[in-house]
C-alpha cells in the first residue's frame, strides 16, 4: 500500500490511479467535516464531489506533497463556506432524511439504537446545530475543526492560511458564544 506522500507525488506527475486512491483514502474525512459544518447529507455530498474535482484541476497548486491534507481541507472548507453564504439564514438543522436515496435512509436509520435515544439525540443535535449555525462561518468551522475533528491550532492555521493567533482568537470567541447558547446543556449534572 502506497503512502500518502507517494500517492500525492504520483498524482502531481499525472498518475490518475494515484488520484483515485487519494479519493478513496480521504472521502470519509471530507464528508465528515462537510456534514458537521453544513448539517445535512446532500450538502456534504456536494462538498465531497466538488472538493475532489477542484483538487484534480488544481494539482499544479500543490507545492509540497506534505501539505496535501491541509490543501484538501482548505478546498473543502472554502466550498462549505460558499454553501453557507449561499444558504444565508437557511439552517441545515433537522435534515429531512426522507429526501435521501432509499439505501442511505436505511443505512442512517440503522445507526440509531432506540426511538427514545433517537429523539434525545435529535434534540441535542438540533440545539448544537442551531448554536453552531449562529456563528460566522470562520468561527464555526474553526470550532468544528478543533473541538470536533481534533485539528491543532497550527493545522487549522495552515488550512485557512492565516496566523495561529487568528485561529486562537476565532476559537476563543466561538467558545464564548457557544457556552452562552448552550448554557442549559452545560450545567453540571446533579
Amino acid at each position: 500500500m502506497k503512502s500518502i506522500p507517494d500517492l500525492v507525488k504520483a498524482f502531481i506527475e499525472g498518475d490518475q490511479e494515484a488520484f483515485a486512491e487519494l479519493v478513496v483514502r480521504y472521502r470519509r474525512k471530507v464528508y465528515s467535516l462537510a456534514h458537521r459544518i453544513l448539517g445535512n447529507h446532500l450538502d456534504a455530498d456536494e462538498v465531497v464531489q466538488e472538493t475532489f474535482v477542484r483538487i484534480y484541476s488544481r494539482k499544479e497548486d500543490l507545492r509540497d506533497v506534505s501539505h496535501f491534507s491541509s490543501f484538501l481541507m482548505r478546498v473543502a472548507t472554502n466550498y462549505a463556506i460558499d454553501i453557507l453564504r449561499k444558504r444565508k439564514g437557511h439552517s441545515g438543522v433537522g435534515e429531512d432524511t426522507s429526501s435521501l436515496p432509499g439505501d442511505i435512509q436505511l443505512h442512517l436509520a440503522r445507526q440509531v439504537a432506540t426511538p427514545r435515544e433517537e429523539f434525545e439525540n435529535k434534540q441535542l443535535m438540533e440545539e448544537i446545530r442551531r448554536a453552531l449555525d449562529s456563528l460566522p462561518p470562520k468561527q464555526r468551522i474553526t470550532a468544528i475543526l478543533h473541538d470536533v475533528e481534533g485539528y491543532s491550532k497550527a493545522e487549522i492555521a495552515a488550512i485557512f492560511e492565516c496566523p495561529e493567533a487568528t485561529v486562537r482568537s476565532n476559537l476563543h470567541i466561538a467558545r464564548i458564544k457557544l457556552r452562552k447558547l448552550l448554557k442549559q446543556r452545560l450545567k453540571p449534572k446533579e
Partner: protein
C-alpha cells in the same frame, strides 16, 4: 497564579497546549479555586458536547457511487475528452475519404458512361458488316450547306442511309456533299 492569569490560560490548558511548567501552575490553581474550576469544567463539557456532533456514515454503496461520480467528472472526463478528440479526427478523416471516393466514383462513372456511349456508337458502327452501310451524322455546317445549295447529290444508296437518321461527321466521301437533307430523308422513307 491569579484567577485572571489562570482564566487566560484555561483554554490552552484544556487543549494540552501549555508548556509543562505553566500547566502545573494552572493545575495547582484549579485545585484550590472553585470559580476557576467551575469555569474549566464548563469548557470541558462544551468540548464533550461538540464531540457529539457526529457525521453519519451513509454506507458502502454511497462511498462507491460517490467515488465513481468523482472519477467520472475528473479522470474519466479527461480520458473521454481525449478520446472524443481522436474520434472526431477519425470521423473527419472518414468523411473526407468518403467524399473523395464519391468524387472518384462519379468521375469513373462519367468516364464509363462516356466510354459506353462512344463504345455504343462504335458498336453501332460495327453492326454493319459493310462500313459503307453505317449511318452517318451530319454536322450543322454540312446541314447548312445542303439547305443552301439544295442540290440532291446523294445516291439512292446514300439516301437510304440518311433515312436511317444518322450521319457521322467526317465519314469518308460525304464531306462537302450538299443536299436538301430533309427532303431526301422524306423521299427515302
Amino acid at each position: 497564579m491569579t484567577c485572571r492569569h489562570t482564566r487566560l490560560l484555561l483554554e490552552d490548558f484544556l487543549d494540552h497546549e501549555l508548556p509543562q511548567a505553566e500547566r502545573d501552575q494552572v493545575q495547582r490553581h484549579l485545585e484550590s479555586c472553585t470559580d476557576c474550576r467551575s469555569e474549566y469544567e464548563e469548557l470541558v463539557r462544551l468540548k464533550e458536547l461538540m464531540g457529539t456532533v457526529t457525521a453519519p456514515d451513509p454506507g458502502r454503496d454511497y462511498w462507491q457511487q460517490t467515488t465513481q461520480v468523482v472519477l467520472a467528472k475528473t479522470v474519466d472526463s479527461t480520458a473521454a475528452t481525449a478520446a472524443d478528440r481522436v474520434a472526431v479526427r477519425r470521423r473527419e478523416a472518414a468523411k473526407t475519404a468518403f467524399v473523395r471516393s464519391l468524387i472518384s466514383a462519379a468521375a469513373s462513372l462519367a468516364i464509363l458512361v462516356s466510354a459506353v456511349m462512344i463504345g455504343s456508337l462504335h458498336r453501332s458502327a460495327g453492326d454493319w458488316q459493310d462500313p459503307a452501310e453505317q449511318p452517318v451524322l451530319l454536322s450543322a455546317s454540312i446541314q447548312e450547306e445542303l439547305d443552301l445549295r439544295r442540290v440532291p447529290v446523294f445516291t439512292e444508296y446514300e439516301r437510304g442511309r440518311l433515312a436511317r437518321g444518322m450521319l457521322l461527321l467526317g465519314a469518308p466521301g460525304y464531306l462537302g456533299k450538299s443536299a436538301v437533307l430533309p427532303e431526301y430523308l422524306w423521299a427515302a422513307m
